[in-house]
């Protein structure tokens, strides 16, 4: 592959911070399905997990063109900054100091916006004097000078958090919460003039705020009124807390803000991710780095029958045919089945503990029922085909756009990673647009290898040495258990993908907490067990491994069958993962896990055939 292509792939698919390069960023931007809601003049909370596109959407707002009807300022909450206030012991002072800081950073961003749009040196002595007074900073007559005054005030505040005992709160001038922000926002809109009619304050990574800091910003949101509104980016399902500075007046959804769950919005919109990828392919094509291709045609897509054939369905079918021939039975329907279906006769025989001939007769006598069974158990039977074949590295193919959409589960970043990794493999031998060889479609093998690589990289990022390390070990135990069940579906729950817990309350609480943390870091997904049929009913949840990790464990990426796992055993995974795994495998009927004699531990097989890149 040409280095230029590799570099451009990396740039376009997000590894090289396309967000930092405004020109290419706007060219690549695709309006997400929730963009209209974001541009309304009301408070919006964009809730989604890492990689779902919150930052991209908020930054896009902040990069609005000069002729747009709104402007937006963007601030990302940095833990180093939010936790700096944690050291102020007096909670009241801490709130005051943080409100002052919030005022300063929002004012700074608004004035910076004016500066960037050429209004930095305009004289506004009266307005800016009032703003400076409300912010408790030195007077200024132009936005540029006021920015410098705010910079100095931030350094003064920095000295306070760096030595809280060294200052007396009564001697320090903190600006009061909220009012300076309204004043500076109104001024910004007046200074910009038409067509700008609204100002959005975008606060990203809201979950990094401490409770007292959340109360401050929540109060700002509560009291925001047109033409000012807040757009909040938060990791998770919604605001971490709704308290404001007034005890009895919390934020309410939808009265005070609207929550937009990003992942669900993207999953429900079938075109967004296609457009995101298509825009990047167009860019590659424009630079003459790849031949033209559509998203649909880029990936080879295997049917279940084709996949079965790749795993040796013809070999098993031959055995079935030979047995029928030897018996002398006339089974015209069964013998007319294609090899891609006939192998299932043997799978069914092994599952039921009957002979191949009995299974064939059953199919001959009940063809409709048998065809339905084949549809229901096709995937487990493909795993069964791949089992025990020495030298076979693949156990299943994860290929095709629809499969990638399921693996990404509404996460834009995962989708970009999957496509980039596939392109990297698929275009490995492609050197020039003059090449006669057409690289499309990318083979199922390359796609599967790409999906495994993305899964593995994500998995390795989960082990962070803290709580993530505990989640990682739990994930490895559950993943390996599901992998063993999937690998050998005979007389077991075939194609398990979901699980629920049973066991003592204390273990349920411990493992439940880890699973919820796992959901937050995209190791697991919470899935609804029951559809509510009455308002009094309580929603019940189960869990599954995040689909992006399915290729690593060689398990199904679709929602399929559910098993019950013992929370008491899983609780021990953090201490001794191998022991926990052995107990789990025993409880689900996998007495002899597939660790090879030469391997060091039970988990080695999952990492086998994985060469360092």
């Amino acid at each position: 592959m040409k280095p230029e292509l590799r570099k451009t792939l990396s740039h376009l698919f997000g590894r090289s911070r396309a967000e930092n390069q405004p020109s290419s960023y706007s060219a690549l931007f695709v309006r997400p399905p929730y963009q209209d809601q974001l541009e309304e003049q009301r408070n919006v909370v964009l809730a989604g997990l890492r990689g779902s596109g919150k930052t991209t959407a908020l930054r896009h707002l902040a990069s609005a063109r000069n002729d747009a009807e709104y402007v937006a300022v963007y601030h990302c909450i940095n833990k180093n900054q939010s936790l700096a206030f944690a050291g102020i012991e007096d909670v009241g002072v801490r709130r005051k100091a943080f409100a002052h800081y919030a005022n300063l950073i929002i004012a700074h961003a608004c004035l910076r916006l004016l500066f960037d749009r050429g209004h930095g040196d305009e004289q506004h002595p009266r307005d800016l004097s009032l703003i400076a007074s409300s912010l408790c900073v030195e007077k200024a007559s132009t936005p540029a000078v006021l920015i410098a005054s705010i910079d100095k005030a931030i350094i003064d505040l920095e000295n306070v958090v760096n030595n809280p005992r060294g200052f007396r709160a009564s001697h320090f001038n903190f600006s009061i919460a909220e009012s300076p922000v309204k004043r500076v926002c109104r001024f910004t809109l007046e200074a910009l003039g038409r067509p700008v009619r609204a100002l959005f304050i975008c606060i990203d990574e809201y979950e990094n705020l401490l409770l007292e800091e959340l109360q401050v910003f929540n109060t700002y949101i509560k009291h925001a009124e047109k033409p000012i509104s807040y757009k909040i980016g938060v990791r998770g399902r919604g605001l971490p807390a709704t308290e404001t500075l007034t005890d009895s007046d919390p934020l309410n959804d939808p009265a005070d803000f609207r929550t937009v769950p990003i992942t669900e919005a993207i999953i429900n919109d079938t075109t967004f991710l296609v457009d995101v990828v298509a825009r990047r392919l167009e860019e590659l094509e424009k630079q003459r780095l790849i031949p033209a291709v559509s998203v649909e045609d880029m990936f080879e897509q295997l049917t279940a029958r084709e996949e079965a054939m790749l795993f040796g369905a013809d070999r098993v079918s031959r055995e079935v045919r030979d047995e029928i021939d030897r018996s002398g039975l006339l089974l015209p329907h069964v013998t007319s089945l294609p090899d891609a279906d006939l192998y299932f006769v043997k799978f069914h025989a092994e599952s039921r503990g009957i002979s191949v001939l009995e299974s064939a007769l059953e199919w001959e006598n009940n063809p409709v029922q048998s065809a339905t069974r084949l549809g229901n158990y096709r995937v487990p039977s493909i795993f069964w085909l791949s089992r025990g074949r020495k030298g076979l590295r693949m156990r299943k193919y994860y290929a095709g756009w629809d499969t990638f959409a399921l693996l990404a589960a509404g996460n834009t970043r995962f989708m970009l990673r999957l496509v980039e990794a596939s392109l990297t493999r698929g275009l490995e031998g492609y050197h020039s647009d003059h090449d006669e060889a057409n690289p499309w479609p990318i083979s199922s093998k390359d796609q599967t290898s790409a999906a495994r690589s993305v899964a593995r990289n994500h998995l390795m990022q989960l082990d962070d040495g803290g709580e993530g390390g505990s989640v990682y070990r739990l994930l490895m135990v559950i993943g390996k258990a599901l992998s063993e069940l999937t690998r050998d579906p005979i007389k077991r729950t075939p194609e398990p993908s979901e699980f629920e817990l049973s066991g003592p309350a204390s273990d349920l609480a411990r493992v439940g907490a880890l699973l919820r943390e796992g959901v937050r870091i995209l190791a697991f997904e919470q899935v609804v067990k029951n559809k509510l049929t009455a308002p009094t009913e309580v929603q019940d949840f189960a869990f599954r491994i995040h689909p992006i990790l399915a290729p690593f464990f060689w398990i199904s990426h679709k929602r399929k069958r559910r098993i019950v796992l013992d929370a008491a055993v899983l609780a021990g995974a953090d201490e001794d993962a191998e022991r926990s795994l052995r107990s789990i495998l025993k409880s689900i009927g996998c007495e002899s896990p597939s660790a090879e004699p030469m391997q060091r531990g039970l988990f080695d097989e999952l990492f086998a055939n994985e060469e360092p890149e």
Partner: protein
């Protein structure tokens, strides 16, 4: 046996082989952590210093989750690490202060350096370099990837006492990250994630050539995910693992080369390299921000010591008093 009169020495770095004899003035204060005697040689070294009339002060955090305070073991007095005057008064070095980098965590020695800066006393940092590093092989990780995890866990990214920065960074485009990287891949990866998306433009600095070539390779391999996530594969440089002043200069060059950028400095490498990072931040308080994960070291200490290093940071600290 090597003898050194450090009082009159103007050389910044002294490399010593154990056992050693330190010639320290009677009013020297040795600042160390509770685990300061874990290695026999250093125990001898510091016991000898005490026999010469030097005062030893053991500093530790009152709890694992409180990075703001330290307790003086001898009196139980709690000092606020953010208050340079209180900290200076508590340790009261009248002539010379020796800071033991091995037994004190960065979250204590960095504020201590800040408190000692510009006070007119001689400040030495003591470091013992192990002969090897132990690999801790995870049973649930890839077999081909030796993991170094010297730290049991980390509190996560939060300010080091006295080093908090509040300046708004309007966009990550206005920032630069200089990451000093050791052998533990996890720490840098997590710290980068906690900095938010997208990752700032990053310059990765590995220790070399003091390490063996194999260790350099392992360090890079351990950080492959960090290098990819920060897109810094093309911006890798190397610095001596035992020369803080080289690292300080390297960071200073980055600061000077990017006059309009806010510079994050991630000190996750060897202790001398981290010392260089802290010195650079002390010299450039308005332009730099430490990104540190407050990791908690495992109890096991290195098996043997290769050599001792003594860094005279007095002149560097002279221009870096508390802000």
């Amino acid at each position: 046996m090597v003898s050194n009169d450090l009082l009159n020495d103007t050389v910044h770095i002294e490399r010593l082989h154990s056992p050693i004899t330190l010639q320290l003035p009677r009013d020297t204060v040795v600042l160390a952590g509770p685990r300061w005697t874990e290695t026999r040689d250093k125990g001898q070294l510091l016991t000898q210093a005490e026999s010469m009339g030097c005062r030893r002060i053991i500093l530790s955090h009152p709890s694992a989750t409180d990075p703001w305070h330290a307790t003086l073991d001898s009196t139980g007095q709690e000092v606020d690490l953010r208050d340079p005057n209180e900290l200076f008064t508590a340790v009261t070095p009248s002539g010379c202060a020796v800071i033991d980098l091995n037994s004190l965590g960065l979250s204590i020695w960095a504020p201590t350096l800040r408190a000692l800066g510009g006070r007119g006393c001689k400040v030495l940092a003591l470091y013992m370099r192990p002969t090897s590093y132990q690999v801790r092989q995870s049973t649930v990780g890839p077999v081909y990837s030796p993991e170094y995890d010297f730290n049991a866990r980390a509190l996560g990214v939060r300010p080091v006492a006295g080093f908090a920065r509040l300046a708004p960074t309007a966009s990550q485009a206005g920032t630069l990250l200089v990451a000093l990287l050791g052998l533990e891949g996890k720490r840098a990866r997590v710290a980068l994630r906690e900095l938010g998306d997208p990752a700032p433009e990053t310059r990765a600095v590995f220790a070399s050539p003091g390490y063996s070539r194999r260790l350099v390779q392992r360090a890079i391999w351990a950080h492959r995910e960090f290098l990819t996530a920060s897109d810094s594969q093309r911006y890798v440089s190397y610095a001596s693992p035992t020369n803080p002043f080289m690292v300080q200069r390297l960071i200073q060059n980055h600061i000077d080369d990017h006059p309009d950028r806010h510079v994050f400095v991630m000190p996750l490498a060897t202790k001398p390299m981290n010392l260089g990072a802290v010195l650079a931040c002390l010299r450039n308080p308005k332009r730099t921000e430490l990104v540190f994960d407050h990791s908690i070291v495992r109890s096991a200490s290195p098996e043997s010591i290769d050599s001792y290093y003594i860094f005279d940071v007095t002149s560097v600290l002279a221009g870096a008093g508390p802000s």
